[in-house]
Amino acid sequence: MKRKALDALVAHFTLPQSGVEALLDLSNARPSRLEQLRFGAHVLRLTGLLCLVFGVVFFVAANWDALRVMGRFALLEGLFVVCIGTALVRPPPATRGRFALFGAFVVAGALLALFGQTYQTGANVYELFLTWALLGLPLVIASQWSVAWAGWLTVLNTALALYCGWRPDGGLLWFVFASVPWETAILMIPAAINLALWFGTEHLRDKPVHRVVDALRAQWLGRLLIACAVGFGTWAGIAALMRHSWAGWALRGEEVIALVLQIALLLSVWAYAVRRRADVFPLTMVAASVILLGLFAVIRGFHRTDWIMMLLVATWLVASSTLASKYLIGVLRGWRTEGVPA
């Protein structure tokens, strides 16, 4: 039970402190000593690992003169071999194996950065992240760990954001999309990739799957994917709306395409989430996107700076968020009444 419900029980029955202690114990609201030790050990282990891998990244970035090129490569490659060796000795799902493969994934990124730094490959930053995501994928799959998948998604989305958000010249993606004149609608590509991955993880959720992809079924990972999908789409929509701001409603073809695609994305997420009846988070993301797009549509459509405009925008924000809340709470209650643990 949530703390709010426990507070309500205490208030309703005017429980004394001994009653509250009993309430907290019976509802398992406080972790036991064993749980505390387990949590503490896990957090410290993970933080320690992250400190070590970040330390390596910082060290490579420091470009220390006293250590020659060969030494730097030897250091990183040695670490990579140690990580892989550890994972082979204690393979996932053992914690040590998971940590080792995650460490290997981060070291692989540092190695690629060192390669680019040393040989001046002329690669764009997005290419570093994209190559890292592609080459690191086997390590992440082998780790069988949702945290490693989250790291991989962060790297992939960074690459996509760098490319689709700023369209740097050069590299693999530029070669593919150089002739595409779009600047805003291209942001729907990362949105579509994240959406496809989300649909994929949702598809896996209720089925018996091989342990290698089991980590992808974590609910929080699905939420990260849908947040990225809706986030990129909303970015595209806002960019389309504001590209020629203060110019009335006239939109160019590409901007219309971006908005239509984003509306299609939101509708598909909404329809799927309502049909699936598992989690209200995707619906909340849809609502947040509608509120934001509506905000910029009002600003763009009425292009004024007087009190009427301010009132319109404030009214839109209050009214739309209220409607969204009422709708989402209604959906949530309906599902809970039917026994869905949403």
Binding site: V20, E21, G40, A287, T322
Partner: protein, 327 residues
């Protein structure tokens, strides 16, 4: 993470143990409960609306003197508190009240800024305003925001007054003062949150539980992400600007200490079984790690050496805890 007992089973168990008289009715169903992410969307929407409500008042009534602005702010705050009281659990009125509450604060802070023209004074006034609002505003969401903004204002107040920095620039600070200021800012906040968590059963019996609960959440949010607000504007999140000169500046190691705060937050959130706060603390820790990378003042080599040593120490501590767990 949480227990499996339903409300009815819990009440039955408490009745059996003599804490509740037999035959007592269950409390009415709470219709205001909503998931954390929906609360966050509503909070951000209200915050944005608040800026536009103030913009509306400003453009309608301009030009406004400092005193007039202050009166407008006080009026908006009073109106919001009235709305909160009138519209308990009615979403539209709650949202309207929250945006008016935020607009009122903007107006008062703008008036204070015009009058004092001093950043420490502005931060002190924001802090005082948050404390007063925490006492008088009958809304959990508003009290949570008051506690969080209070933490941010406190951090900025100490930074700007003790270090004598300007709002958007950073001076070179030696290791001693750097550590001292950080401890002065964050030790009281961490100690306060820790005390509230460890005395939870005691304050849950008091009539202030409805005010303390959101304050605790706000303090924990402040502990995990509030430290970012103490950075100069130019260095927010990932910026390398504003760190001033090429001298050694130990303030660049604050993000490392902030990672420690994120860990403390995680621990306290775990005591409350608050998954959302644990998630926020994890994200905050990663953001602090990127701040540590980008903030100049201490060489990357030095930073690398420090965090590798810390990593080894943490892994050692984890091994000790794991051994205790096994025994």
């Amino acid at each position: 993470m949480s227990g499996q007992l339903t409300e009815q089973q819990l009440v039955a168990a408490l009745t059996e143990r003599g804490h509740i008289p037999p035959g007592s009715a269950l409390p009415p169903e709470d219709h205001s409960d909503r998931p954390w992410y929906l609360s966050m969307v509503l909070g951000v929407a209200a915050w944005l609306a608040g800026a536009f409500v103030l913009g509306f008042a400003w453009t309608l009534l301009e030009p406004l003197s400092e005193r007039e602005l202050f009166v407008v702010g006080a009026f908006l705050l009073a109106a919001s508190i009235g709305l909160f009281r009138a519209g308990r659990d009615r979403t539209f009125i709650d949202q309207l009240a929250l945006s008016t509450w935020i607009a009122g604060q903007f107006a008062i802070v703008a008036a204070v800024a015009d009058i004092t023209e001093s950043w420490p004074a502005i931060c002190a006034s924001i802090l005082a305003l948050q404390i007063v609002l925490w006492f008088v505003t009958p809304s959990s969401a508003a009290r949570l925001l008051a506690a969080f903004f209070g933490c941010c204002a406190w951090a900025l107040f100490i930074r700007l007054s003790v270090l004598d920095e300007s709002f958007d620039d950073r001076l070179s600070v030696d290791v001693g003062p750097s550590l001292f200021v950080w401890v002065v800012v964050w030790l009281p906040v961490a100690a306060g949150a820790w005390a509230l968590v460890s005395t939870e059963a005691r304050w849950m019996t008091s009539g202030w539980r409805g005010a303390i609960r959101p304050a605790l959440t706000g303090l924990l949010l402040g502990l995990s992400v509030g430290s970012i607000s103490a950075d100069p504007v130019g260095t927010l999140l990932f910026g390398v600007l504003g760190t001033g000169d090429n001298h050694v500046n130990w303030l660049a190691l604050w993000p490392l200490l902030d990672i420690g705060l994120a860990l403390v937050t995680m621990w306290l959130a775990f005591q409350l079984r608050h998954r959302a706060l644990i998630g926020v603390a994890i994200v905050a820790g990663l953001v602090h790690a990127s701040r540590l990378y980008f903030l100049s003042g201490v060489s990357l080599l030095m930073k690398a050496a420090i965090i590798v040593v810390i990593g080894i120490v943490l892994l050692g501590l984890a091994a000790v805890l794991a051994r205790q767990e096994r025994t």
